[in-house]
């Protein structure tokens, strides 16, 4: 076993030497601490990585490290360039063999459904595992910074973080000028599949409160199935749906507006229904700022 690890280490070293031929090889080792508090020792530049979550994949591209990706989780669909990468199973179906076959130096994953055994198996195969699992905006900044450090792109990471912070600050300042607090209902799952909303502790809820809006289901924690009656009673002024339009039948906005009993809702009467199905407000990545901009425009009618 030990011999095998040595062999792999030597192989990786050779790969590193070859890939690093162009520039001066950085031999010194660095230690980074991931979001699980694990210390990871990295030797030299990281040139081959796999990102299992869509958010980490977006972060890598945002800090200009997209070229280092040699594989992606199956749900990584943004930006378009990511789609041409080989896809591996992620989440509950994470397949160690698929990842090892891509010979990455580092794999980025979240903690959802990843067993300790999987992490150990990857480490034993010489693949460094970096865990990033942001649950709030601060967490997203932390994962951008972490990935920036791993990829030796701290400057770019800081730029991304500062840009996001600036956007949120601007939006929050502009929202403060509005004295009325719009009430918004986020619909994650449509009525025919059972209503689900995003309550406290979700990015949607956080974005709403940063923009001076009130999530009508702010008293519910996390993602939750709720009663139709409750939506009607809470009478939101704005509705955001994340349902993707499949191209036939009524659009998600039309479907909501056409529901029996919903015609008295302020949002329906005023036509305040937004379809935000680009994952920008649900994915803990750099596009949260874009999602927040869209939400702001929807709530206040200004850019």
């Amino acid at each position: 076993m030990k011999g095998k690890i040595w062999l792999i280490a030597v192989l990786i070293a050779l790969v590193l030497l070859c890939t690093g031929c162009g520039k001066a090889p950085q031999a010194q080792s660095r230690t980074v601490t991931d979001m699980k508090g694990r210390d990871i020792v990295l030797n030299g530049d990281v040139m081959r990585v796999v990102a299992l979550t869509a958010a980490d994949c977006e972060i890598l591209y945002a800090i200009g490290a997209g070229d280092a990706l040699v594989g992606r989780g199956e749900y990584c669909d943004y930006p378009e360039a990511a789609l041409s990468l080989p896809a591996v199973q992620s989440g509950a179906g994470t397949n160690i063999e698929q990842i090892i076959a891509l010979t990455p130096q580092v794999v980025f994953m979240d903690t959802m459904a990843q067993g300790v055994e999987q992490i150990e198996a990857l480490e034993a195969a010489g693949v460094r595992v970096v865990v990033s699992d942001a649950v709030d905006l601060e967490g997203v900044y932390e994962s951008v910074s972490l990935i920036g450090t791993v990829m030796n792109r701290e400057r770019e990471a800081t730029e991304v973080i500062d840009g996001m912070k600036q956007t949120f600050q601007d939006l929050s300042d502009k929202a403060a000028a509005h004295t009325d607090k719009p009430s918004v209902y986020f619909e994650i799952s449509p009525l025919k599949d059972g209503l689900w909303t995003a309550g406290a502790g979700t990015f949607m809820d956080e974005a709403a409160s940063l923009l001076g809006a009130k999530n009508v289901f702010g008293d519910v924690s996390g993602w939750a199935g709720i009663s139709e009656e409750q939506v009607i009673q809470r009478n939101p002024g704005y509705i955001v749906t994340t349902t993707k339009y499949l191209g036939t039948g009524p659009t998600p906005e039309q479907e909501i507006a056409g529901r029996v009993g919903w015609e008295h809702l302020s949002a329906v009467k005023d036509g305040h229904i937004l379809n935000l199905s680009d994952d920008s407000l649900t994915r803990p990545g750099p596009r949260l700022a874009d999602g927040a901009k869209q939400l702001f425009h929807f709530l206040y009618g200004e850019k």
Partner: protein, 346 residues
């Protein structure tokens, strides 16, 4: 003859009791819900609606008339339909475990719904969603499949063969369901919604469909009550008293699958109602299907209405899948009743 009439008039009070119980359950379910509305307010909304007056509070009126009432109607009708099916199956197959779910009809229907969801099957310009159509088709198709497989194994259509095929088929379907979920993991939530059952988002149109199906299929089943009584004693007995065993069995199975398919297409698979209610009702009415079948309708309606009420209110503003409540309560009731009956019998 005189004695028989006496027995039937004695049953009159049972009927009144059951009807009152069912109506009371429905009334409570309409007045109590996720959003609390005082009874006086409820009555005012209904009076306004009946007299055609403009509602003073459109929000409350929508909750009651557009959301709660159609849902309670659908729940009660589904409960009645599933129970009468369970009662008929148990009599026909002379098996206390028979039910739409043990025969594979419900699982077949939910597979249809899951496939429609996973592959986005949708017929434009139709009032019913794709999942509804496929659920009803699969319920019927599953029955045909189970029956023809049973027939191939055993041309006398023995009940044990049918039950066994049903259970094997259910397992097969559940493995296909897992397979569908593996290939369409983003649809997991939607598919779970179907397999857990829920009558959220029911409309008056759904209630009407259920009502028509229950009226037609229920009548067919009740008219076959005497034949079911003969079956309940034994298939040979049924044959001896002149029942066309194969034909009656086919009619009952087809009727039941149509009714269950309709229920699943509207509310998903709701377990335990069809299994438990007939057993409870049998304690009240005895095994005669002329009384058992209609009484099961009332019992099932009341049971499912109360279960749905619990699903809507226990964790408000959250909503639980109704199948969670029926299976939880149903399983406990089942054990309790059998324990009690078993002890008194001994």
């Amino acid at each position: 003859m005189e004695e028989k009439r006496q027995r039937e008039s004695y049953g009159l009070w049972t009927w009144i009791g059951l009807a009152v119980l069912t109506l009371a359950a429905m009334l409570i379910a309409v007045c109590v819900g996720s959003v609390s509305i005082p009874v006086g307010e409820c009555l005012r909304v209904f009076r306004d609606a009946l007299t055609g007056t403009e509602a003073s509070d459109p929000g409350t009126a929508s909750i009651l008339l557009a959301v709660r009432l159609p849902r309670v109607l659908c729940v009660a009708l589904s409960g009645a339909a599933l129970s009468v099916c369970g009662a008929a199956m148990q009599g026909l197959l002379k098996n206390p475990l028979a039910d739409g779910s043990t025969l594979g009809i419900s699982s077949g229907a939910s597979l249809g719904a899951a496939l429609a969801i996973a592959f986005g099957f949708q017929l434009p310009q139709l009032p019913f969603s794709g999942s509804m159509i496929l659920a009803a088709l699969f319920a019927f198709g599953s029955l045909i499949l189970i029956l023809s497989l049973s027939y191939m194994l055993d041309s006398s259509f023995s009940t044990n063969t049918i039950i066994l095929m049903g259970i094997v088929y259910s397992m097969f379907v559940s493995s296909i369901l897992s397979l569908v979920v593996t290939f369409a993991p983003d649809k997991l939530k939607q598919i779970t919604f179907w397999t857990m059952g829920s009558l959220e988002g029911s409309s008056y149109q759904n209630a009407l469909v259920l009502f028509v199906m229950l009226a037609v299929c229920g009548t067919v089943l009740i008219r076959l009550a005497e034949e079911l009584n003969a079956f309940a004693i034994g298939e040979e007995n049924a044959m001896n008293v002149g029942v066309n065993v194969k034909r009656v069995r086919l009619v009952i199975l087809v009727t039941v699958s149509l009714l269950i398919g309709t229920c699943v297409s509207i509310g998903g698979t709701i377990g335990f109602v069809g299994l438990v209610t007939p057993h409870i009702i049998r304690l009240l009415t005895g095994p005669n299907h002329r009384r058992l079948l209609p009484a099961s309708m009332f019992g099932g309606a009341a049971f499912l209405t109360l279960a749905d009420l619990a699903a809507r209110t226990i964790a408000r503003p959250l909503e639980l899948p109704i199948g969670v409540v029926t299976s939880f309560v149903g399983a406990i009731l089942f054990v309790l009743i059998y324990y009690k009956v078993g002890r008194t019998a001994r």
